[in-house]
Amino acid sequence: MSDNNMVTDKELQNDERISAYLRGEMTADEEAAFKKELETDEELRSQANAVAHLAKAMRQVGEKQDEDIKEALLSSDEESVRKIAAEVTHKAKVIPLRRRLVKIVSLAACVLLLVGVGFQYYNFRTITGLGDEFGSVFVSEQSISRGAENETVAKELTSLYVNVQNGKDLDATIKRLSVLWELSTMDTFNDYTNEAPYIGWNLAIANLKNNDKDAAKGVLTRLISKTEEGSAVNVKAKELLEKIK
């Protein structure tokens, strides 16, 4: 794989070939050559496999979404549909500026910038402060005592939670917790499923400490939907979400 900034011609050609193969647009000879190359070119094989997973996932998710929309259309009436369309188009309406307003707008922008800088600092302290305030709420509950069940998972989670507590290595911690959060909230049971509430909670706190309010809100919203109504994590997540709003 090329580094982050460089995409080579070969990689783009591989994309085209993979797409052509998936769409049945190759000639018999081209397809034979492509399949032969897949046997020996590990990078091409990995790319092709990933694209296949991507295409299949999009088909499955897209078909489900389309079915939901069709159901929604069937249960709607003309008035509701017209109202929805009107709301969307009117929100997006652009009003053209006139030249005589430009000076006034520029001056207002300068004032807003000064106010904005002050507000941003205040906002930073508020958001990260919430992370500190709520960060220690579940420290004792989340200490993992799984015994020999899965020591590796337990050790890793403990280490990640400690990082969140101490506000240490937040970028790497958030990245890893995000992966585990997705795993823990999958429909199929795995080593992380039972830890989902605390994984989600710590991810939200980590995002707050990292001053990423939107990410924290997203995690908390999902955490609320995934935890039992009235449970400790559910109650605290709602409380925290309310404060962030």
Partner: protein, 190 residues
């Protein structure tokens, strides 16, 4: 005061409308240079037609994605409007539906057999679905447009007001991001 919360259907349709409005507006302005008011009217009328077609069972035999189908309705409404106005624009020159053929299930499955770890197939597919649910911009527009709506690179470039080169490179990067994320999740699973 009672606040009326939107129903689930209204939420679903609202999300769909918001997603489609950007595409439709860009298409109508670029292709037919229509003003805002005409774009608004076409969008609203097309939404009604979509609902009516759904109720008449016309969506059952739909072969494209719903998004592509809806854009088709908008295009037809735009052409109707232009014909009624006897507009000078050549309405037969259409950049938009440079659509590609659909991705074939058999081909997808052939490439999936290249998976080095063949166990936990269902869990892996679930992971892939989760990732595509939460794609960031512009990856969501590019990848959904390419793999689900079957838009060509040129069409995507026109929709996003970018060059084909930009679309190719960005799409590749998005695919690589998916590959990396999917790989990370699968490693954690195994």
């Amino acid at each position: 005061m009672t606040i009326q919360m939107p129903t689930y259907s209204e939420k679903v349709l609202n999300q769909f409308a918001q997603k489609e409005w950007g595409k439709v507006q860009t298409f109508l302005k670029k292709q037919y240079t229509l003003p805002d008011d005409d774009c608004n009217d076409i969008f609203q009328e097309s939404f009604i037609i979509l609902m009516k077609n759904a109720k008449e069972g016309k969506l059952k035999d739909m072969t494209s994605s719903l998004s592509t189908y809806f854009l088709g309705i908008c295009r037809n409404k735009a052409r109707e409007l232009l014909r009624s106005k006897k507009h000078g624009v050549n309405i037969d020159d259409d950049y938009t539906f440079d659509a590609m053929s659909d991705v074939k299930d058999e081909k997808i499955n052939n490439l999936l057999t290249l998976d080095s770890a063949k166990s936990l197939i269902e869990q892996k597919e679930a992971l892939a679905r989760q990732i595509v649910h939460d794609l960031p911009k512009p990856c969501n527009e590019l990848l959904w447009g390419f793999f689900r709506d079957n838009y060509s690179l040129q069409t995507l470039a026109n929709m996003l007001s970018k060059t084909v080169g930009y679309v190719k490179v960005t799409k590749h990067r998005c695919q690589e991001k998916f590959r990396k994320r999917y790989g990370d999740l699968v490693k954690a699973l195994l």
